[in-house]
């Protein structure tokens, strides 16, 4: 089959002779992929910033598809079902799954206890091949996958595997109360969804920061919010204080993560030399611009070692910091309904449909923000939809 194949930092290609995935566990299913996105999280892998990313892996944690084969213990799916597959691999039985912390499942990732299992996301999250391929093995098929509701557009469905729940979760973790001022760092797919979701919790004001003018234009219209370019602001934290009565925002959301720009020191130590687990510029700004007693919600992804953040300020200001990988399964029923009710319109953020065979160009377009790209979707030749 055809699959994306990682060869090293910023080097990927399509491998036409990738072996077909097989059922390796009674609760496995094999899914034929019909859509697979490239995510901001994939850029951390692409740039070689996630330790234990091995040459030859296939990435891809945002995909939908058709069930082709099921293991002997799979009861909730049948061959032919079209499914949304959450990016987390979760057993549904361990103490963390019991608490609906599916992103923290303890039975899916042997390599690290500090992270759950994720499709196509290095050996730091279990060493699974991902969905940027024609076929993929889906473990715990009774737990994660959800049958795509009648009539749902595949482009909406594929964004429910990660982007929509993660944006929503970012706002949810903020504990937004009616009238709160919410600042979102990052106008990528996740930040855009976070801004949009903030209103659902009753935000009074939503402000987004980024450096890409086309993304700021998009989020202004799509999420009906204010949006500013931090490149044209000498000190984003001071700017934020000034626009919020000098007190700061009630809630700050980091939807940027390790690839952040905006501070030379952070960039050199976090992205160029890997002396810290990614550049923590957005998180630094978030902690410094939140109001005392406020909440910082982190969905931006960082590596496993350490980061330079102003933790002293967080303490002195009495800030609550909350972060997690999204437990997609917990949020799916509610968010499917929001999409069906027209409250959320995920597919509007998809700017590119790219044949899986051109995956290397797809990564380049998304990573370098070429051609006004917001969200690219890969379509395998065998997708047929």
């Amino acid at each position: 089959m055809i699959a994306m194949n990682y060869r090293g930092p910023q080097r990927i290609r399509v491998d036409r002779d990738t072996p077909m995935p097989e059922i390796l566990h009674p609760q496995d299913a094999i899914v034929r992929v019909t859509r697979a996105c490239i995510c901001g999280s994939d850029l951390h892998l692409y740039n070689g910033n996630v330790p234990d990313t091995r040459v030859g892996e296939t990435f891809g944690h945002e995909f939908i598809g058709v069930v082709e084969e099921i293991g002997s213990d799979v009861t909730k799916l049948k061959v032919g079902d079209q499914v949304i597959v959450p990016f987390n691999i979760a057993c549904g039985e361990c103490t963390f799954c019991e608490q609906e912390l599916y992103s923290c499942c303890h039975e899916a990732n042997p390599q690290a206890t500090a992270a759950g299992g994720i499709f196509g996301y290095s050996h730091m999250t279990g060493g699974y091949n991902g969905g940027q391929a024609e076929y993929v093995r889906v473990p715990y098929a009774n737990v994660g996958p959800m049958v795509i509701p009648e009539g749902m557009h595949p482009d909406d469905a594929v964004l429910l595997t990660d982007v929509v729940p993660t944006g929503y979760h970012a706002a949810e973790m903020g504990g937004i109360q009616k009238g709160d001022t919410v600042v979102v760092f990052g106008a990528g797919p996740v930040g855009i969804m976070a801004a949009k979701s903030a209103w659902l919790f009753g935000a009074g004001r939503v402000i987004v920061f980024d450096k890409e003018e086309y993304r700021l234009d998009f989020v202004r219209k799509y999420a009906q919010c204010e949006a500013y370019n931090f490149l044209s602001i000498s000190d984003p934290v001071v700017f934020m204080k000034k626009t919020t009565d000098s007190l700061g925002a009630d809630v700050c959301i980091d939807a940027v993560g390790a690839e952040a720009s905006g501070s030379k020191l952070q960039t050199v130590t976090g992205r160029k030399t890997l002396m810290q687990a990614g550049s923590a510029t957005a998180l630094q700004w978030a902690i410094n611009s939140v109001k005392k007693g406020g909440v910082v919600s982190i969905v931006g992804v960082y590596g496993p070692t350490v980061n330079m953040v102003p933790i002293g300020n967080a303490v002195n200001k009495g800030v609550t910091i909350r972060g997690s990988q999204t437990s997609v399964k917990r949020l799916l029923p509610k968010l499917v309904k929001h999409v069906q009710d027209g409250i959320l319109d995920p597919k509007a953020i998809i700017t590119h449909h790219i044949p899986l065979e051109e995956v290397a160009d797809g990564y380049r377009i998304f990573a370098d923000k070429l051609d006004n790209c917001i969200k690219p979707v890969l379509v395998p030749p065998s997708a047929n939809i």
């Binding site: 060869r7 930092p9 910023q10 080097r11 290609r13 390796l24 566990h25 609760q27 330790p51 234990d52 990313t53 091995r54 040459v55 030859g56 892996e57 057993c91 039985e93 361990c94 103490t95 608490q99 609906e100 912390l101 303890h106 039975e107 899916a108 990732n109 042997p110 390599q111 299992g117 050996h123 060493g127 699974y128 091949n129 473990p139 504990g175 937004i176 109360q177 009616k178 209103w199 659902l200 919790f201 009753g202 004001r205 009906q224 009565d245 890997l274 919600s297 496993p304 609550t320 909350r322 509610k334 009710d341 409250i343 290397a360 797809g362 380049r364 377009i365 370098d368 070429l370 051609d371």
Partner: protein, 159 residues
Amino acid sequence: MENKAKDYSHIKGWGIDADPKNDPTYPMRKRENEDHEGYSWDRPPQQPVDIEVLHSIERPNVTAVFGTSRPPRGLSGKIRRFAFRYGEGSFAHWLPLVMADRVDVVEGILDDLRKGHLPNIWAERGMGAEWKYNRKGLLQRMAVTTALTAAVIVLLKRD
């Protein structure tokens, strides 16, 4: 800020998920009593461990399922095995892994060559897209790289 007077009717779904009880100072823990009993759940059946799986020393076992994309091999594999002797909080775990990743890249190229495949780095880096959408930037970068390389060569040749 005074927000009460504001009208949000232009925003679809405004406030529908508002939840005054969502108090972030107590994160989403929903523990029942039995959740305090530690490693006590009924484990799913074990996926046969018929490849080498490195597992964190912070857990007693291999998880019930695991990925099989790339078992450790070669020199990078040796380094990875060494790294997994240390806990997840330790630099002795992560730094060797980063090093192993880089060694793996070289091994990947050697492997390609052995199979008679010359990696097309231009295509692998997606430079076709850069050429199509950002030709000016790409040419500028190439010019800078060429100039720097030339300068280095000149410097090295001086004495």
